[in-house]
């Protein structure tokens, strides 16, 4: 367990980068380096993070980083991890860092393959719930009701549950995070680094440009996502599901804020009807009923991970 004051001062995301003002994924990137330092090799598919680097021949990343095709992050990480193994460079952490589109939609098969091959790497999906780079089209991670340029009246389908898809691969570590909770995220990254095999962390990263709220509210909205329970902080370590603070105190519905408070802060949900809001609240409550069961002792080995 670390505290913010123990975070190293070194920065490997350099100032003057190209993200929009108030960008949640940029906070997550800084935290990535606070946790792992610069002994990393990153693989980044087409996404906002490609843009954040800045135009050739400059980059705001002071670590080795391979820009990769949209669909190939997992496969590229497998190749790099294999090369490092052959060269005996096993103190270097391979990090796949991809958006939600590049993870839950187009990069899913490559990631699934890498997990099945037990590639030794950390894969992080920073989820801004749309295709940000290309101007905000809907993705499989866009939540029900949200406006995007391709869902002008609100998305009609629900968000894909990517962390549980990864848990079904029986990988040793799956976690969720949010940059509003820096210590939680940094601890999870450090834990992931010490575990051999495929580690998956799904980070809800608020995006003022896509979610349509004032740039100063990024951290506040992430906090509200957790306190309303629409986003839960948890980890699944060798199949064992555990809610992390403050989500571990929210199993009782009376402790959770109404999801309406979270929705009301973002113009992408402006058009929602009362019935829509009620539906979303019911889904959140159902998710929590599920989390309650997973956290209970009968479900202590959720994915039947079978570590022997």
């Amino acid at each position: 367990m670390v505290t913010i004051k123990e975070f190293p001062k070194e920065e490997y995301l350099l100032k003057g980068h190209a993200a929009c003002a108030g960008c949640g994924p940029s906070i997550a990137l800084r935290l990535l380096f606070k946790a792992l330092g610069n002994k990393v090799i990153m693989v980044v598919p087409a996404c906002c993070t490609t843009v954040i680097q800045g135009p050739y021949p400059y980059t705001s990343f002071a670590v080795p980083l391979q820009n990769m095709l949209f669909e190939a992050t997992g496969a590229t990480c497998s190749g790099i991890a294999a090369a490092l193994k052959i060269r005996g460079l096993e103190d270097i952490t391979v990090v796949g860092w991809a958006g939600d589109g590049g993870t839950v939609d187009i990069g899913l098969q490559a990631l699934s393959g890498a997990a099945e091959r037990e590639t030794n790497f950390i894969y992080i999906c920073y989820d801004n719930e749309a295709y940000g780079n290309t101007g905000l089209q809907r993705s499989g991670a866009t939540p029900y009701g949200a406006w995007t340029t391709t869902t002008p009246t609100g998305k009609k389908e629900r968000k894909k549950d990517m962390p549980l898809i990864m848990a079904a691969h029986k990988i040793p570590y799956v976690a969720t995070a949010c940059p509003s909770y820096p210590v939680d995220f940094v601890n999870k990254l450090r834990k992931a680094k010490e575990i051999k095999g495929t580690k998956y962390i799904h980070v809800l990263a608020p995006c003022p440009t896509g979610w349509r709220y004032d740039t100063s509210k990024t951290v506040e909205i992430g906090r509200l996502a957790v306190h309303t329970g629409i986003w839960a902080l948890y980890e699944i370590e060798y199949g064992r599901f555990r809610l992390n603070p403050p989500s571990d105190r929210l199993i009782d519905k009376s402790k959770r804020k109404p999801v309406r408070e979270y929705l009301a802060m973002q113009d992408r949900f402006r058009h929602l009807t009362e019935a829509d809001i009620e539906k979303i609240q019911q889904w959140v409550d159902m998710d929590w009923e599920y989390y309650r069961k997973l956290a209970s002792s009968e479900c202590s080995d959720l994915t039947l991970h079978g570590k022997i």
Binding site: K15, A21, F61, A62
Partner: protein, 93 residues
């Protein structure tokens, strides 16, 4: 490293190099300027950890220092400061 002028000057494998201000002096994007009232600041370092633009440096004594050449004026630091030590003031013309 120079920016290639023509296509024939492009290397086979383009490599970018770490640079402060890869997108230029992004402080020029700002419309509101965060101002720290050091008499209120408790050196909690929260503004430092949450700044998406790496525009806040944590000094030796943990007090924050804003780099206005790069701060984009998002206002997250002011929103998150627990003692309201940071205010956002409109930039002059």
């Amino acid at each position: 490293m120079a920016v290639p002028k023509a296509r024939r000057d492009m290397p086979l494998t383009p490599i970018s190099y770490p640079t402060f201000g890869s997108m230029g002096k992004t402080g020029s994007w700002r419309t509101f300027r965060p101002i720290i009232d050091y008499s209120k600041c408790t050196k909690c370092t929260l503004c430092w950890v949450y700044c998406p633009d790496v525009a806040i440096t944590r000094r030796e004594d943990d007090s924050p220092e804003i780099d206005y050449e790069y701060c984009k004026g998002c206002g997250i630091c002011a929103n998150e400061c627990p003692v309201k030590a940071i205010t956002m003031q409109r930039e002059e013309e």
